[in-house]
Symmetry: C2
DNA sequence: GCGCATTTTGACCACTTGGTAAAACCTACG
DNA sequence: CGTAGGTTTTACCAAGTGGTCAAAATGCGC
């Protein structure tokens, strides 16, 4: 396997192609449903060539997840205690909905992983994610207690933002099966969710 | 393969055991992640013996899905046009939340299938499910138009009920990673969702 | 307990899959 | 050039997988 830090042009190009291909294949098929051959093919490499860059299928998966985790948590990090409560929460919902629209594969990758018990990222959920959520839940609880929004359970508020926004990425085929294939659900979803959170939270 | 209709005692016992085992294994691993051996083992049979009752892995999967579909759609079917709008919608949410709590494996089975593009049930989504949703969306739209609830997009209202309730089954490990493993989230979830829908929909 | 249909098993097969070894091939740089 | 380091390919396992088959074992009505 090539050295980690000093990347040649070719290494950079190929690892990028592999990670992009792996995202495509893992998100569409899950970890077990994906094969190294599929990923290699999608990346335009032979299987042994791919395994020259990553030691194993597990290693590719781990690399893809690691690269994504930051992006995935950023919208929640940006929730500002100093801001206007309702605008902050609705803004967070908007950012998550945009993420679902613009990065559906990333959303499905996490969905696949978590639905099957998160065997490879459970630790991260219990540490990094939990810490972040605990911190922001305190902020929301303070807004509740101060009467600036309706009193609500902050954890379940966050769960509801996650579930409703990610639904449009993860269950995309079902949404399109019901609305019709050519219909873009996001504008309507945005309006609906704005109404929902505004009416629920306005004190 | 044994005859379809005239089931002997042994056939009944074994097919039941297989379907139960298949639900367990498919919901935890997805279609491709599950192996016929796993299912046979879980059912207490040998692999060839299992394949004496079902022609193939696909056939087992199809049988499990078919058996579940009815149960899964019943809560929406029970939405009564003649009832009180808010009570009907909150009632539907309750039934879905109970389903998530009492039948998490069934929920995860569908989640696995749909996240990966629903290759085996797309047709059903586009026909049976769509027809049912269209019908109930009309009911909700009529309530909206009559001013009996806040004007909302009925389709996205239904999506939000699905996503928030199923979240507690499908993303169970994540919920527990954040709330702590021994915490039962359902009572709080119920209260939160009641507040949410009541405040959003009350005219 | 007999005879027949049902059920179960053990051995097996073809194919896929993750991964390896070593040789062949580039390619930057002196 | 030429050669050293990086890259790619060819050929190949060993394990796992879905599925088959004929023979053995079991149930069951009489």
């Amino acid at each position: 396997m090539p050295k980690a830090t000093p990347q040649t042009r070719i290494q950079k190009k190929n690892t990028d192609a592999i990670l992009e291909a792996a995202l495509e294949v893992f998100s569409a098929n899950g970890f077990r449903g994906a094969t190294v051959d599929m990923i290699a093919n999608e990346a335009g490499l032979s299987k042994p060539n791919l395994l020259y860059y990553f030691a194993s299928k597990e290693a590719i998966h781990a690399a893809v997840l690691e690269r994504l985790l930051g992006t995935w948590l950023d919208p929640l990090r940006a929730l500002e205690p100093a801001g206007d409560p309702l605008l902050e929460i609705v803004g967070y919902m908007h950012r998550k909905l945009d993420l679902a629209r613009d990065y559906p594969r990333e959303s499905r990758l996490f969905a696949n992983e978590i639905v099957q018990g998160a065997p490879r990222i459970l630790t991260i959920l219990q540490t990094d994610l939990k810490d972040l959520v605990d911190e922001k839940a305190k902020v929301i609880a303070a807004w509740s207690a101060a009467g600036r929004i309706t009193p609500v359970d902050p954890y379940h508020l966050i769960f509801s933002i996650w579930s409703m926004t990610q639904h449009y990425a993860d269950f995309d085929v079902q949404v399109h099966a019901i609305l019709g294939g050519d219909h873009d659900p996001y504008p309507d979803a945005r309006r609906y969710l704005e109404t929902l959170f505004t009416r629920m939270l306005r004190p």
